[in-house]
């Protein structure tokens, strides 16, 4: 028995798992409808796939949500997991699920997949014959992804960096890398049976003035960590920055470099996709403005040439959106995509060259770390500040990089900390900003820039 299988046996020998039958699950994946695999949808559907967010605690409410989405012509269904399950607190998730079922009140902010179990969940996940994407935020997702794949969920979002630095303060990053290695391996194993399981990285990070070079570096590194374990379908992603030009530049650079680095490690047979998140920062309370922002995001996604768009709702600023609001966004986004024809191809060569140089310099510094494995090189690079995510709450993050928007709303680096971007690129970034102000004014600018869409 392989080490991985031994570990899987232990992980699934859990009081919250109802007798996990590996052979049956393998058989299910082998014979599952190809339509359930987003990797297959990417290949066969000649359009940008539309995926909302959403998750409710009870089976019935989740089913009703999916039914709404299905009627709104959704391409990909979401399965957003509740916070307790994300933190591996299955006992509380179980208690809260019972309360939700008995009182008609949602005591969880998502679907507790582990608690429902794969036998129950599979009925729902396969019913609509559409791909489902697992949205969680879990540093240790081993049990969760086993349950997800067994349930018929064949896209797994997240990664050791993107699900830790924005979400967690204390969880040890080295452990997260090892736990996600397990996730990659399990996804790679199942990918041999039918269409590939798709892995998607979470590009928005803190969604707070993250400069493009940092986003892209982290996307590329999570992609490489995934590919080196045998994953054959991977989505890099990023969210709307607030500058259309910067988004288009990011899209071009991330595509080009994803290809470049996957070839660098000798992987030429994996499909790489691009996912665009509608605005992930603070939303306007005014629902009309919110709708405008969502529409604008859809236009930019088209300009970027994304393979999938993940939608927001006009209720974003005021709590957990209803299924009606979610379905409305899906329908509107699909409509907008249908009428967006003849968009011009835009290219900003100077910005692309600068961003490419920044990303490649950071990647080179990561690869030059003396550690013997890629994950440890990346771990060391985060620990020593080579990779620095603005506004990350995690204790390992260096938090020395400072960013602000220039007059065209592009995110610019005005203090690089220990991030080794080339000097000329750094000078270019700073020169786009008005830094002749006093410190208080610059701080006020940063605060304003965080809430730019409100």
């Amino acid at each position: 028995m392989s080490l991985l299988q031994e570990e899987r046996n232990i992980i699934l020998n859990n009081e919250h798992v109802d007798n996990f039958d590996f052979a049956e699950v393998e058989d299910f994946v082998k014979n599952a409808s190809k339509d359930l695999f987003i990797s297959y949808n990417f290949k066969t559907k000649n359009k940008m796939l539309v995926q909302p967010r959403g998750g409710f605690p009870t089976y019935d409410k989740m089913f009703a949500l999916y039914d709404f989405f299905d009627k709104a012509d959704v391409d990909v269904l979401p399965c957003t997991i509740d916070s307790n399950t994300r933190l591996n607190d299955y006992a509380t998730a179980k208690k809260m699920l019972r309360l939700s079922e008995e009182n008609e009140v949602d005591m969880l902010n998502g679907y507790p997949l582990v608690t429902h179990g794969y036998r129950t969940s599979r009925k729902m996940m396969t019913h609509f014959n559409k791909p489902i994407s697992l949205r969680h935020g879990t540093p240790d997702a081993r049990l969760l992804i086993e349950t997800a794949i067994a349930s018929g969920i064949f896209e797994i979002e997240g990664g050791p960096i993107t699900y830790l630095l924005p979400y967690s303060k204390n969880f040890p990053l080295d452990k997260a890398f090892l736990y996600w290695k397990y996730v990659e391996r399990v996804c790679a194993e199942y990918s041999k049976l039918n269409e590939p399981i798709n892995r998607e990285s979470f590009g928005p990070l803190t969604a707070t003035l993250v400069p493009p070079c940092i986003t892209i570096v982290i996307q590329l590194l999570e992609m490489l960590l995934s590919l080196e374990e045998g994953v054959k379908s991977f989505s890099v992603s990023f969210s709307q920055t607030g500058s259309m030009n910067q988004d288009i530049v990011m899209g071009a650079v991330i595509r080009k470099l994803a290809r470049h680095y996957s070839e660098e490690i000798g992987v030429t047979d994996a499909d790489i996709h691009l996912v665009y998140h509608q605005w992930m920062g603070a939303f306007p309370m005014d629902q009309n403005y919110a709708s405008q922002l969502i529409n604008m995001s859809t236009v930019i996604a088209s300009m970027v040439g994304a393979n999938k768009i993940i939608t927001k709702t006009k209720q974003e600023a005021s709590g957990i959106p209803t299924k009606e609001a979610n379905a409305e966004t899906v329908a509107n986004t699909q409509y907008l995509l249908r009428i967006l024809n003849g968009l011009p191809k835009l290219k900003d060569e100077q910005e692309e060259e600068i961003l490419t140089a920044e990303v490649m310099a950071i990647m080179e510094a990561v690869f030059n770390d003396p550690a013997d494995t890629l994950w440890r090189k990346v771990f060391n690079s985060i620990k020593n500040g080579t990779i620095d995510v603005p506004f990350s709450p995690h204790i390992i993050n260096n938090n020395e990089m400072i960013t602000v928007r220039d007059r065209n709303k592009n995110i610019r680096i005005i203090k690089r900390g220990k991030v080794p971007i080339p000097h000329r690129c750094f000078e270019y970034e700073k020169n786009q900003c008005d830094l002749n102000k006093d410190t208080t004014s610059i701080v006020n600018d940063i605060i304003h820039d965080i809430g730019i869409m409100q």
């Binding site: 570990e7 232990i10 992980i11 009081e15 607190d89 540093p139 240790d140 204390n170 969880f171």
Partner: protein
């Protein structure tokens, strides 16, 4: 085991010698009337003679390890960081003292091997005053090291004799900087060995540095899945004759700090089944669940008075129960571990030679049911060969 080719690994414990070659692992009960070196070379001469000095690696806990007392400013930073570094360097902590309470703190009578004074980031000054010196005057210690704010170091140097000053373990971001203190404590351990005649003689058979056993065990943990069927997060409990060590995966605690280790260590100095038997019994009697446990094991408290094989087994089972209690929310020690998230418990030490797997499973199930009110059942892994330490020795 190819790394073991031509190598001999020796662990000198408080009760046993363990010798590991590429062929097997042997254990020899120590003769406490003899010098360690004489005892070892008498019992194992035929093995030792086959190896060159540079191919013999020794770790030891037989010198009892070093003891420390830590004086700090806050529980959240200075004391927490220094405690963590001390534990992971294989040092036993006698006590921690909050400086603001120093006048109310009773001064330990034992000889302390090293006092650690810590507090403040480098931009802060005037942290310590006369109260510290007064406390130290009444304390019996061999070494003292200051790892706090740089601005106070000159003042402390003037007022404390033989004070070693190292860079601050708290940086300006309130993160831990462990390297210098760790190295100092490791060297101190080494010097302690050199000062203890019977351990010092072991350098007659090895030209390699002798490390502390807990330090070595901690090094083995990231590699443990190459030897046992375990899944992170797990804990390793080392129940020996004098102390019980618990090494735990860092994702089991809420309040982490960024250090080099994937695993941290806690030591319970007075929880052993041989040399610390009395204090183990004392701790047991003070635990409200122990009588239920004894009933569950079908014995009465009279077992504490007995000296039999059965009594030893019961004591070992109690030690497992007590150590789990001490790291659970039920009894707040230095850390609370999220025991519901545990996948595996690895047991090593003399205990693995005495207890059967099912006896340990029984205790663990009892603990989860009674204390945590849970059906959770982490897998129990026994280091039956008692050689988990060899993984770390080969890495050194």
């Amino acid at each position: 085991m190819s790394k073991l080719e031509n190598k001999l690994l020796i662990d000198v414990g408080s009760t046993y010698f363990k010798l590991c070659t590429k062929d097997n692992v042997q254990q020899h009960f120590r003769d406490f009337n003899k010098d360690i070196y004489d005892d070892l070379t008498y019992k194992c001469a035929d093995i030792i003679k086959n190896y060159n000095k540079e191919n013999i690696h020794i770790c030891s806990s037989a010198n009892g390890g070093l003891s420390t007392l830590i004086i700090g400013i806050t529980n959240s930073f200075s004391l927490k960081y220094a405690t963590n570094i001390a534990f992971n360097s294989g040092i036993n902590i006698i006590d921690t003292v909050l400086f603001r309470d120093i006048e109310k703190t009773s001064i330990p009578s034992d000889l302390i091997d090293v006092v650690i004074v810590v507090g403040g980031i480098d931009s802060v000054s005037n942290i310590f005053d006369e109260r510290l010196f007064k406390f130290l005057d009444g304390l019996n210690y061999s070494n003292i090291v200051y790892v706090g704010s740089e601005k106070d170091s000159a003042f402390l140097k003037e007022n404390i004799q033989n004070l070693s000053i190292l860079p601050n373990i708290i940086n300006e971001k309130l993160h831990v900087e462990e390297e210098n203190l760790k190295e100092y404590l490791t060297n101190l351990y080494q010097a302690d060995i050199m000062g203890k005649e019977d351990i010092k003689h072991l350098y007659n058979i090895t030209s390699n540095q002798i490390f502390s056993t807990p330090y070595i065990v901690n090094k083995t943990l990231p590699m443990i899945d190459s030897k046992f069927k375990v899944a992170d997060p797990y804990i390793l409990i080392d129940i020996g004759g004098a102390t019980t060590d618990i090494h735990y995966s860092k994702d089991l605690v809420e309040e982490n700090m960024v250090t080099e280790n994937e695993y941290d260590r806690l030591v319970f100095k007075k929880l052993g089944v041989y040399k610390s038997k009395e204090s183990l019994i004392f701790a047991a009697k003070n635990n409200e669940f122990v009588y239920e446990l004894l009933a569950h094991l079908k014995v009465t408290e009279n077992i504490f008075e007995e000296s039999s094989e059965k009594a030893t087994r019961i004591l070992m089972q109690l030690a497992i129960f007590l150590v789990l209690c001490k790291v659970s929310a039920y009894r707040k020690a230095y850390v609370n571990l999220k025991l519901n998230a545990l996948n595996s418990i690895v047991l090593t030490g003399g205990i693995t030679k005495v207890l059967k797997q099912e006896e340990i499973e029984d205790i663990v199930t009892f603990f989860y049911k009674k204390i945590l009110n849970s059906q959770h059942n982490p897998t129990i892994v026994m280091d039956n060969n008692y050689d988990v330490w060899t993984l770390g020795m080969l890495e050194k």
